[in-house]
Amino acid sequence: MKHVLLTLAAGLAVAAAAAGISNEFYLRVLFNIGVYYLCAAGMNVLLGYAGQKSLGQAGLFAAGAYAAAILTARYGVDPWLSLVAAMVIAGLCGILIALPSLKVKGPSLAMVTLAFGVVVEKVVSEFTDIFGGAMGIYAIQPLYGPAQPFTMTHWVWFVIALGVVTHLLMRNLLTGRFGRAFLSLQADEIAAGSVGVQVYGYKVLAFVVAAVTCGLAGALIAQQNQYFNSDFITFHLSIFIMLVVLFGGAGSLYGPLLGSVVLVCLGALLARWSWIEHFVNGALLLFALYVMPRGLAGVLSDLRSRFTTKPAVAPAAQAPSGLTPFTVRRGGDALAPDSALLTVTGVSKAYGGVKPARDVSFTLKTGHIHALIGPNGAGKTTMINMLSGIVPPDAGAISFRGETMIGRGVDDICERGLGRTFQNLRLFKDLSVLDNVLLGQHRRMGNGFFSSLLALPRARREEAKALAHGRAVLAFLGLDAYADAPAGSLAYGLQRRVELARALATEPWLLLLDEPAAGLNPRETAELGELLKRIRDRGVTILLVEHHMDLVMAISDHVIVLDYGEKIAEGSPAQVQADPRVMAAYLGTDEEAMDHAVA
């Protein structure tokens, strides 16, 4: 609430200052700052949070501008209505540009967005009957107040109001569930899926948010200027929008504002030596990235933290006692102990000649600790990946709590109560330990886009619940001291435990642990064993892939042995240990070796 009042006060102060300015040039500079802030605020969600490089923002800017231009100038639609329509149309274009992102990543995605920008540029300049090409569209209707069309001062007031609203909405959206989910995409899409974030959905959402604000900015420019032509839409515009975000500070709420203020003012100051501006923009783009990777906002916050002493860390809010069940909100009832929780039937997978799974079948029982063992290359990790939905099996059936898991997305499987960790840690390294765990809660939170955007009571309630639960999980695993540390900064063993905490926070029925003891010393390994038993006692079934045979044999109720993708044995630890095929697999088929092993 304090923040809202401060922001409103700041907005009012600037608006009041603007009222006193009679020089339209300064008003225009303010207007441009506002417009580029809007572009950048949305772009920040896409680039700074979701980590998607879009080089085609000019195309979305064009969508908004042309929508407003054509609707008002050709069809006489009310300017205010057109402004709203422009945002909707730009949002739809955002979905269009986001669709390829479901298929391609990295440089190819950057290329697709760039191609989108180029296509839009070509379309608006070549299809002159509709878009007027470089000759443009005249008589675009400006927004109007009660009495008359907006004056320059009105326009400035209006963009300040829009800026304030946008800032507050973005803050609501990005400081909670949605902000974390966007950040998780940037850090690691596979891990994001495994904690239940709908990766594609959130990507599309990020594109749409960026598209709506860019479209709004385009419509404002077109309506203010009352004329628009295809020369406005250039690759340079896309680059500039990106530069505003990067220079100001991607991933910071204040970055877009800082970036637009500094860069627009710089442009105005350098107008008589425009070629320098070009040069300066290039230099900023290049050097800002490594001199200040978090942009101006990062530099300022570093400065501030240097000059203000941190308040002593308050003891974490009273951690709920260890007895709090940490499966609080998942749907469905617990199955009876010893009943089949997950059934794998005839699953096969092949990568060319390599067959990490050949007709494998087994059953995991509720309340047990199962272990999946086998020599290197036996197909253990592939099995975990198939169970968690990351890799689709070529054949066979997987049924979890009576439902088939084949064809379901990773996030969907997580939602149904299957959590996992990874062999090579996949933590969200730059996020705090607490945020990692809160991401585990992502799918259990009930606040949707609009309740988050508007910070409705529901969103606040859900956030508080998730926080309480996250803290409980951290306390359970003895991680509460590290809650605010970036996950990547912890020691390796602790990082493994954070990953376990994150998986537990998804409130799973079944926990898949891929070599949880890798890199742990014997004492830590023993502790882990105790911990896993306590987790099992809380009603979470565990499937463990592990090379530490001591650990496996000590805690497992049931062991499955894979070799070259085939299940060669299963049973109690003792049964498996005695199985000659298992020994052969581990020690080679040499008779002598087998004799030796048996002896």
């Binding site: 440089p107 191609a115 180029v118 296509v119 070549e126 070009h278 290039g282 900023l284 290049l286 990235l289």
Partner: protein, 306 residues
């Protein structure tokens, strides 16, 4: 009418040769470093002007408004090609050290922006030195039109086409046969393993950017007599070359070359049909290809290791 189609094919192949060269230059850095130079277009323009400057110096003038008609005669043009290749190759070292290495391999793909920034700086420098004007560059073998079954083609277009093919064949052999090629493929496969095998990974990566720069500079000088030199000429070429590379498969050099040629020919034939659809069709094509085959027509599938 068949002459018309032959004309379209020849025109498409000659411009496709340039696309293919630049597409190859993208592929070289992508396979070894998993990064690309997003300002390769500026490198092409830069190469063209370096070459032009050499031509002028060798002709004893520095007046860009009066390029002598014989400026490219004799050994001057090869000298320009070599100088541009070398100089742009050197710029390749700089872009690697300044804009790529600090960010390569880190999440966030900051190198996309840093290479764009580098390109903007390069272009600004070019504008200061050479100005924004369009400059005509004479072709080394004259401006005459050669007729092949009724279709006309200029000597320089054939030169570009032939030299592009030769360079690609040579490159292909280098990659497959030589120690350097093997080192590059090893680094492409896994920098860590390559480094364990005693390969100087940084050197190989620098080498990739140098080769990529050499190709861009070469392409710039070669295409200048066809397109006329301007500091803005490179963007269009490089965008389409990139498109060709993506269509062919960024991680497959041969696929990139094919993609470049294919794009040139498609563009030319679409022009026969509806010229306003020419460039739009190219980019719509990329989006379609990527939707069906995200790694390009000939690209090896990339699998995320979990």
């Amino acid at each position: 009418m068949s002459a018309t189609y032959l004309q379209a094919l020849l025109s498409g192949l000659s411009v496709g040769g340039i696309y293919a060269l630049i597409a190859l230059s993208f592929s070289i850095t992508f396979t070894t470093t998993k990064t690309l130079n997003f300002s390769q277009g500026e490198f092409v323009s830069f190469g063209a002007f370096v070459g032009l400057s050499v031509l002028l110096l060798l002709s004893g003038t520095f007046d860009f408004n009066a390029v002598p008609a014989d400026a490219s005669a004799g050994l001057k043009f090869p000298a320009a090609v070599v100088t541009a290749g070398v100089l742009v190759g050197v710029v390749g070292i700089f872009i690697f050290l300044l804009a790529v290495r600090p960010f390569a391999g880190k999440p966030g793909m900051s190198w996309v922006m840093s290479t764009i920034g580098f390109g903007i700086i390069l272009q600004s420098l070019g504008l200061v030195v050479w100005g924004p004007a369009v400059v005509n560059v004479p072709a080394p073998f004259g401006e005459g039109v050669i007729r092949i079954f009724g279709a006309g083609v200029r000597s320089q277009e054939l030169v570009v086409l032939v030299s592009a093919i030769v360079i690609m064949l040579v490159f292909d052999q280098i990659m497959r046969r030589s120690l350097l090629g093997k080192a590059m493929r090893a680094v492409a496969f896994s920098p860590q393993v390559a480094s364990l095998m005693g390969i100087n990974v940084t050197l190989v990566m620098v080498g990739a950017f140098v080769m990529s720069g050499v190709l861009a500079g070469f392409a710039g000088v070669m295409v200048a007599p066809i397109s006329t030199a301007s500091l803005f000429m490179g963007l269009g070429f490089s965008l389409k070359a990139f498109a060709g590379a993506i269509i062919g498969g960024l991680n497959n050099p041969r696929g990139c070359i094919f993609g470049g040629f294919m794009l040139g020919v498609i563009e030319s034939f679409v022009g026969l049909w509806h010229s306003e659809w020419r460039e739009i069709s190219v980019f719509v094509l990329i989006i379609l290809v990527l939707a069906v085959r995200p790694d390009g027509l000939f690209g090896a599938r990339t699998v995320d290791k979990v």
